[in-house]
Symmetry: C2
Subunit: 324 residues, 2 copies
């Protein structure tokens, strides 16, 4: 199968505009993808040939660890070197926090209003797993617009966030001293996905202890092959340590560039993504041909009322989908 | 469709033993379900008619908030009243934390080794969404063994945990003062799922502030109808406030028992569960008939190498699954 494909003419036009640097076209293409619009698959298929070159950097860590500031400083660093940057800030839709972070991002956009920089906030939407998929797709669209570096930042540090950032080429986990957030209590899975640890607010008491704890755990943790995740101390608010951080990212990039490591990593990435895309596509088929919302509702009521056994129902429904 | 169904004779026998209080049979039935064994569907179908009567109580909150102690005290409270109890402790498989928590549980089991009490630790396994499904299924098996109350406790407070505990009849969110874990920074979604807040370690400074913050947020949060989630202060280590907590759970239960509220809640529950079960069943079909692991591997490599466009590949694969 060829990579280049014909898509709907309006999509080809839209992607041409995206590639020529039209910010409005980019925003529209992203919205189509975010909303899972009928044209979304065409948009993504048309973007795909123009992806794969950018470095995707995922940044996660506890709320308040300073992730936004780090992402901000990284973006400024790359822009100063004329490296174009896309930022995706994945915000939960909580009425309590979403707005504030989006606000910060809009300010950041204003400060850096240059054609080599683009920022997009994304809200948690849809069901389980949906956000990681959508984030990856939005990253592809932004990458197709010609960005060299894509920074993907999450708000929290839960399973969702892990699933989002682990789809990056370089995953940064931001820790901070004295937040009751001992390394031991970190969400399981976080140690395993980190390519690089940042101990931010390193002027605070306890920074050395956090670093020591991370290093102690590394001796237990799953191996990244010959890459031992470094620990970089920063004070992001003043910019201290950011140079060291970007150098370390560059080292990781160089490590990925030999022995087909980047391609091996992306192969793992695509194995998961294809599986997830198939799951999504199959469920769309079910909704279209197999089980309407009204039917689902009726079955749920019967199961809740103990009139129907769900463990017998589901195999029957699946058989029906395949027959239709 | 009738609820009672014939299953494989060995499964019928196993479930008879489960229902008669045979702990080994219960452990074996749970393992079949946890491992998604070929007999798992039969086990669950045979258990289903014996479920629906128990009260499922989900307990979530930040690591270190004292969830295990609260669950322990609740279990002892119910046992003292001759109410039988099952506990599911959902642990992440992290090599760093899993073992310790499992150890606690084993001790708890020893202390309370009576036929009216059963505890099971579960590890994170499989991919996204799998854990919530398996936890719900394991809860059904334990319920079929005749337990009156099922306590489901998570380790952390991420999306996974939200998905697990929201499938309960009563969801308790445990907060604690002064853990840098301000109510504002709580994972989005937590406020919305709580039926009941516990401020544990209430003798610590800041307990009143946490309570005040929760109440302030409640005025903004999604409504639970006429149920306003109460805030209960506890010092679980000494047992203080546990009586108040069990009374509040009882009030919630009484509220659920009128106007078909419990059934409405379980209908929502089953709508999600049936969808998730179908998704799981479809993907099993795909693995069996559509796309072998080796093929998936090969496609992933071609996509990573830009030789194949995943957004064209997936619709073709889906079409093939349906044709076969």
């Amino acid at each position: 199968m060829a990579v280049e494909q014909t898509a709907a003419p309006e999509v080809m036009q839209l992607i041409d505009r995206v590639r020529s640097g039209d910010v409005r076209a980019l925003a529209r293409a992203i919205s189509l993808v975010e909303n899972d619009a009928p044209l979304a698959a065409d948009v993504l298929a048309a973007c795909f040939p123009h992806t794969g070159r950018a470095l995707r950097i995922g940044v996660t860590g506890s709320p308040g660890a300073g992730k936004s500031t780090i992402v901000d400083k990284l973006a400024r660093h790359y822009r100063a070197k004329d490296v174009s940057v896309g930022v995706i800030a994945v915000d939960p839709t909580s009425p309590f926090t979403g707005g504030a972070i989006l606000g910060d991002r809009i300010r950041m956009q204003e400060n850096l209003s240059d054609p080599g920089f683009y920022v997009r906030s994304m809200a948690t939407r849809g069901s389980l797993g949906g956000l990681a998929r959508t984030t990856a797709d939005v990253a592809s669209v932004i990458e197709a617009s010609g960005k060299d570096v894509i920074l993907i930042e999450t708000v929290g540090v839960g399973q969702d966030e892990i699933d989002i950032v682990r789809l990056s080429d370089v995953t940064i986990v931001v820790l901070v001293p004295g937040m009751g957030d001992d390394v031991q209590s970190l969400k399981a899975g976080i140690m395993e996905i980190a390519d690089l640890f940042v101990v931010n607010k390193a002027d605070r008491e306890g920074a050395d202890r956090v670093e020591k704890e991370v290093r102690a755990m590394q001796s237990l943790a799953t191996s990244h092959g010959s890459w031992v995740p470094p620990v970089v101390k920063t004070i992001a608010s003043t910019g201290e340590g950011i140079d060291r951080l970007t150098e370390t990212i560059e080292q990781m990039k160089q490590w990925l560039d030999v022995d087909g490591r980047l391609e091996a990593r992306r192969k793992v990435y695509w194995r998961e993504r294809i599986t997830e895309m198939m799951r999504h596509a199959l469920m769309s088929q079910v909704r279209e041909h197999g089980l309407s919302d009204a039917e689902l509702e009726a079955h749920a009521a019967r199961v809740a009322g103990k009139e129907e056994n769900p463990y017998r129902l589901v195999p029957e429904l699946v058989a029906r989908v395949f027959k239709s």
